[in-house]
């Protein structure tokens, strides 16, 4: 209370009312059920047993903004979602408070990229900032306590409550304006004296690249196997000069095809050759306009030059490149194998043939290419933007497009008010006279598991039509991959599938290691397997919890999250991080296993099977759960293969297909484990597969812990790896490599490699293209979610809303992996 005695009785009464109201409000801060990205996982953990936000009376998550008092903006504020965040905030009843959670929400964080707003405080007033990437659950509790203190000490609500003049309640701060009240400098505030690189005073690029002065051996070369050679011969025979084998690939047989014949070649590959390449693994484009060895103004000529020249110094042999290269990655189920097809396209806005009639899954891939590169597809049924907002200008993955948000005009409140998403009726392609209810489920909805919008047409509760609007979680990570050095990019990997943590560093480091032919010591390989499997367990535990929650069971959340905490404790012991350890390195891992790791892992292996049994007994035989999942969301094996469905969702259709068995990597061939499958392809089958996968993962963890080899944790070839600290301090060569590799990044030889791993959600592939620099020329990520979610309309058509929610839970997707 103020120092001077209040002179009027009414003031004194109001003072007492202030106290009472503030006291009650601080203990009744009901948060909105709203999450943006990784941070929300930690926010959700705060509600579970170990942290128990309920102690503060703040566990009453409200799905409706009307009833919520507190908006925790947990995660990245994407330009596509910002208008919705603003709308939700406006829908909240007074008084309302905002906690900004995590670096992205605070200031854009590590995502200074075209699609991300550099801080929620540019469109909303913020009461409390929680730092961290992501902040630990304890930090969220701290944030809540700070807000409680703020309410009690700073606010005088009684006057507003009794409709009198004056008084303060709710968020009071003003929003910030990029460049005026908020620093626009990507280096942070306090550096106005230093000219920013990329401004007119300092050119954006160094004239020469230091990488050119470095020598590296050429990229890895593989010998084609017998069947691959015969396949090449068959294709040559069939298409003559229209197809050319690209010499010396690093990872799989690759062919360059004339644009006019590309579609025919693809059709033949899918249906006629043996083995058949029945899956379109990935389809993407490389913008070749910034190739350093490009002969300017020359059309794609006849012979292709050898990309992997014998070691390269500064002088690059000049080459001819098309303007864009379409890249198809195909996969064969019959005899596990891959194949790459490249098609050169020329022109400012080139056109290619759509292959949606060969692979239905090409639909979204082609839309994505159109959206991000501006390449059009002839014959595509519905070519429109998929990732970026419908009113976005330009194609952001083109080399000419700025990468950073700080290079673009600031995103303001006016932008958030203006760029509203399209009305749901736009997506529901039905005649006006048909009576139906068009319902938007998402982008912010309890059960969409992230920022994803379903537009469903309803007849009663039956779904008659369904369309998806994705891209609300587009963090531009592929563009970021073209500016971060090879090592700097590793932290971004873990955030691509934020529940799979270190498991999704693996395809990236493996792809680069394949390209540069880096040998990984055996110990490092087993450590990688150990961590990947720990994350598979922790991911599936979260899936178990959310799936049960989706069908209405609230308690499994609390049970499985406590085992998840045990796993995260182990991860933390080993790596120091929880969700995003950024632990794998080119050539190994960041540090050796600490003392006590084995005891911790053994303890987990001991208790886990019984706990899982217990949780399963709550769900598996529950008649309501069975009634809600059996026969729901069915997909046949043929459809699943055709649509590029991967991971547990594919195995639930009955196909025993696991990359860990079919294309063993990182020493998985040395582990004994089964690949669980189920039949039926429905929600219940997907449940069975994932639960059994947990048991198998545990088996792998047990073996990895029991047979951990000794030796180095990182390769001793320091050309690409970051040297061990002891070596760096003692040895001048190591010091030099350390300096080069952590500053400008190691020079990775020119070439390309695609590597795909079985992460918890399916097959995640990295296609890295190097131009012989310290960073990638093109970083393509094939997320399992993109293909898995594309089949959603197939799964949900004809079912009811409640079934759709169960299907969403059973498919287990994650947004940054769909939108990247």
């Amino acid at each position: 209370m103020e120092a001077g005695a209040p002179n009027k009785v009414s003031d004194r009464l109001l003072g007492v009312a202030d106290l009472v109201i503030n006291w009650s409000r601080q203990y009744s801060l009901w948060p909105m059920f709203f999450g943006l990205s990784c941070c929300f996982v930690e926010e959700a953990a705060v509600f579970t047993s170990r942290y128990d936000m309920a102690r503060f009376g703040a566990e009453v998550l409200r799905p409706s903004p009307r009833q919520a008092d507190l908006l925790i903006t947990s995660g990245t504020i994407f330009k596509k979602i910002a208008p919705i965040v603003l709308r939700l905030y406006e829908q909240m009843a007074e008084p309302k408070w905002v906690i900004s959670m995590g670096s992205c929400s605070n200031c854009g964080g590590m995502y200074d990229v075209y699609s991300v707003v550099q801080g929620i405080d540019q469109i909303l007033p913020v009461d409390v900032y929680i730092p961290g990437c992501p902040p630990r659950p304890e930090a969220v509790l701290q944030g809540l306590v700070v807000l409680q203190e703020k309410i009690v000490t700073k606010e005088r609500p009684a006057r507003s409550v009794f409709h009198l003049q004056g008084g303060t309640q709710g968020s009071q701060t003003s929003i910030l304006v990029d460049g005026q009240t908020k620093s626009r400098d990507p280096r942070g505030p306090g550096m106005p004296g230093t000219v920013i690189r990329g401004s007119s005073a300092v050119p954006p690029n160094f004239w020469g690249s230091r990488s050119d002065e470095l020598w590296t051996p050429p990229a890895r070369r593989i010998q084609l196997s017998e069947p691959e050679q015969s396949l090449a011969a068959t294709l040559k025979q069939r298409f003559g000069n229209a197809i050319r084998e690209i010499p010396h690939p690093s990872d799989m047989p690759s062919f360059q095809v004339e644009p006019s014949r590309a579609k025919d070649v693809l059709r033949v590959l899918k249906t006629e050759v043996a083995p058949r390449f029945s899956r379109l693994d990935d389809l993407t484009v490389i913008d070749e306009s910034a190739r350093r060895d490009r002969i300017p103004g020359k059309e794609l000529a006849e012979g292709l030059t050898d990309i992997g020249e014998e070691g390269s110094f500064s002088r690059l042999p000049q080459q001819v490149y098309p303007d864009y290269t379409l890249v198809y990655h195909l996969l064969s189920f019959d005899a596990p194998g891959r194949l790459r097809l490249k098609v050169g396209l020329t022109g400012e806005n080139p056109v290619a043939d759509s292959i949606t009639d060969i692979w239905p899954s090409a639909n979204w891939y082609e839309r994505e290419v159109y959206d991000l590169f501006g390449v059009r597809f002839e014959g595509h049924p519905n070519l429109r933007r998929i990732i970026m907002p419908h009113d976005w200008e330009g194609h952001p993955l083109r080399k000419s497009y700025p990468g950073r948000a700080t290079e673009m005009p600031p995103y303001t409140l006016a932008d958030a008010q203006k760029h509203q998403p399209l009305d749901g009726a736009f997506y529901a392609k039905k005649a006006i006279d048909e009576e139906q209810l068009v319902l938007n489920i998402g982008p912010s909805h309890v059960s969409t598991h992230g920022l994803l919008r379903y537009i469903v047409s309803l007849n009663g509760e039956e779904i008659t039509g369904i369309d998806l609007d994705i891209g609300y979680h587009h963090r531009g990570v592929e563009k970021i991959g073209e500016r971060q050095t090879w090592h700097q990019f590793i932290p971004y990997c873990a955030r691509v599938d934020y529940l799979a943590g270190a498991a999704n560093d693996l395809p990236y480091v493996l792809a680069v290691e394949t390209l540069a032919d880096i040998k990984v010591p055996e110990r490092a390989q087993v450590i990688r397997v150990l961590l990947s499997e720990l994350f598979r367990l922790s991911n599936h535990l979260v899936w178990f919890a959310t799936y049960a929650h989706d069908v209405g069971a609230m308690t499994p959340n609390f049970y499985t999250f406590s085992e998840r905490e045990i796993i995260l404790d182990i991860v933390e012991l080993i790596t120091g991080g929880r969700l995003h350890p950024s632990w794998f390195r080119l050539g190994g891992v960041a540090a050796d296993l600490p003392d006590g790791w084995k005891e911790a892992v053994d303890a987990l292996v001991k208790i886990f099977p019984r706990r899982l049994q217990e949780y399963e007994s709550l769900i598996r035989k529950n008649p309501i759960f069975k009634a809600r999942t059996e026969g729901i969301g069915r997909i046949s094996l043929e459809e699943a293969m055709d649509w590029g469905v991967t991971g547990p969702n594919l195995r639930a259709c009955g196909l025993e297909w696991d990359l860990r068995k079919k294309f063993p990597y990182s020493g998985y061939e040395n582990f004994a484990f089964d690949v669980p499958t189920a039949s039926g392809g429905d929600c219940y089958a997907r449940y069975l597969v994932r639960v059994e996968e947990m048991r198998q993962s545990l088996k792998i963890i047990e073996q990895a812990a029991a047979n951990m080899p000794s030796g180095r944790y990182v390769t001793d070839d320091y050309r690409y790896a970051i040297p061990k600290r002891e070596d760096m301090l003692k040895d001048i060569e190591s010091l030099i490599h350390h300096f080069i590799n952590v500053t400008g990044g190691p020079k990775i030889p020119r070439g390309e490699a695609y590597m795909s791993c079985e992460i918890p959600r399916g097959e995640q592939g990295y296609y890295v293209v190097s131009d012989g620099l310290g960073y990638a020329y093109r970083m393509r990520i094939r997320g399992p979610g993109f293909a898995n979610v594309q089949v959603m309309p197939l799964l949900a058509a004809g079912e009811s809303i409640a079934d759709l929610i169960a299907i969403i839970g059973s498919v287990d997707y994650i947004l940054p992996d769909i939108d990247r």
Binding site: S28, G57, P63, D69, P157, L618, N622
Partner: protein
């Protein structure tokens, strides 16, 4: 004249006591639910507002009372504003016919411990619980929001469907007690509670009661995973609070009805009658909370199928069997 005045006074006192008691009980039932669920989930639950979080309901109520009352554009204002009151009021009114104990004798005057001993008490309860549907359906419809509308429709369909087995399951009770008056029904259980002779009716009634009070596995009108907050999506502040309150009062009422119709009402050894009634009500409420903590949610059509294809036929068979037994 004096007796008449005294009667009015006693009635007012009784009304006041019951109202305060029920509201307080409902508020603390929320606390019990939060604490009990927390323990089921290996947590503590609210413990900062007061000792053991005992002041938590007070904090929530004051918060909701001082929160902005929003009315969406395009809402049907009058109905939107009235709907929560309908839900809370019908729930509260039902308590009028529940006997809290045997008759008291004060200064030579007989004071029945029930607000209104209606000879059709049971029908009164059904009438009111059916009226409660209007609050849900109209509130959902008047909000001018699709989620609310879907929630409202679900609520209407569900509550009408479950009204039937609810009513039918009690017919055997009426047959046994030969009266619609709840006071008489309690009297009729002098020797044994009806749950022993009517276990089927008891099970049907408890299931239907859970559906009536819209709780997991029957919380479809507000299924948060599907419909956000369902029929009350657009309500804020105390109007939402009234829906909330209505739900918990409903739990108490249904707990009360289970107690008086099946568990012998206030009857019990040693402890005072009112305490026995309270214990029985709380047992039913705790059972509902426990169920919520354990089970997943049914789907709309499964819920209807359970009501129409299982519970109603079962209740009818039960009536016939009971009738046959009574006749013989």
């Amino acid at each position: 004249m004096l007796a008449w005045t005294a009667g009015i006074l006693i009635l007012i006192v009784k009304l006041g006591v019951v109202l305060v008691l029920v509201l307080l009980l409902a508020a603390y039932l929320v606390w019990v639910e939060r604490k009990f669920l927390a323990r089921l989930q290996i947590r503590y639950g609210p413990n900062r507002a007061g000792k053991f979080g005992l002041l938590q309901p007070i904090a929530d109520i004051i918060k909701m009372l001082t929160k902005e009352d929003t009315i969406p554009d395009g809402a049907e204002r009058l109905i939107f504003l009235l709907a929560p009151a309908v839900v809370a009021m019908t729930a509260l009114l039902m308590f009028a016919v529940i006997p809290l104990g045997p008759d008291l004798t004060l200064w030579g005057m007989k004071v029945p411990l029930v607000i209104a001993d209606l000879n059709i008490g049971l029908l009164f309860v059904f009438a009111l619980s059916s009226l409660g549907v209007y609050g849900v359906a109209l509130g959902g419809w008047a909000s001018n929001s699709k989620y609310s509308l879907l929630g409202g429709i679900r609520g209407a369909a569900q509550m009408i469907s479950y009204e039937l087995p609810l009513g039918l399951s009690l017919v055997p009770i009426v047959m046994l007690a030969r009266s619609f008056s709840i006071v008489d029904i309690v009297q009729a259980q002098e020797r044994y509670p009806f749950v022993l002779v009517q276990p089927v009716a008891f099970v049907i009634f408890v299931i239907s009661a859970m559906a009536e009070s819209k709780r997991i596995p029957f919380d479809l009108p507000e299924a948060e995973n599907e419909l956000g907050a369902g029929f009350h999506t657009e309500y804020s502040g105390m109007r939402f609070g009234l829906f909330f309150l209505g739900e918990y009062v409903n739990m108490l009422v249904l707990g009360g009805i289970v107690a008086v119709l099946f568990l012998g009402g206030w009857r019990g050894p040693l402890l005072p009658p009112f305490v026995w009634l309270l214990i029985k009500i709380m047992l039913v409420a705790l059972f509902m909370i426990w169920t919520r903590g354990t089970l997943p949610r049914l789907r709309y059509d499964q819920l209807m199928a359970l009501g129409w294809k299982v519970l109603i036929p079962l209740a009818l068979i039960n009536i016939m069997v009971t009738g046959a037994v009574v006749l013989w």
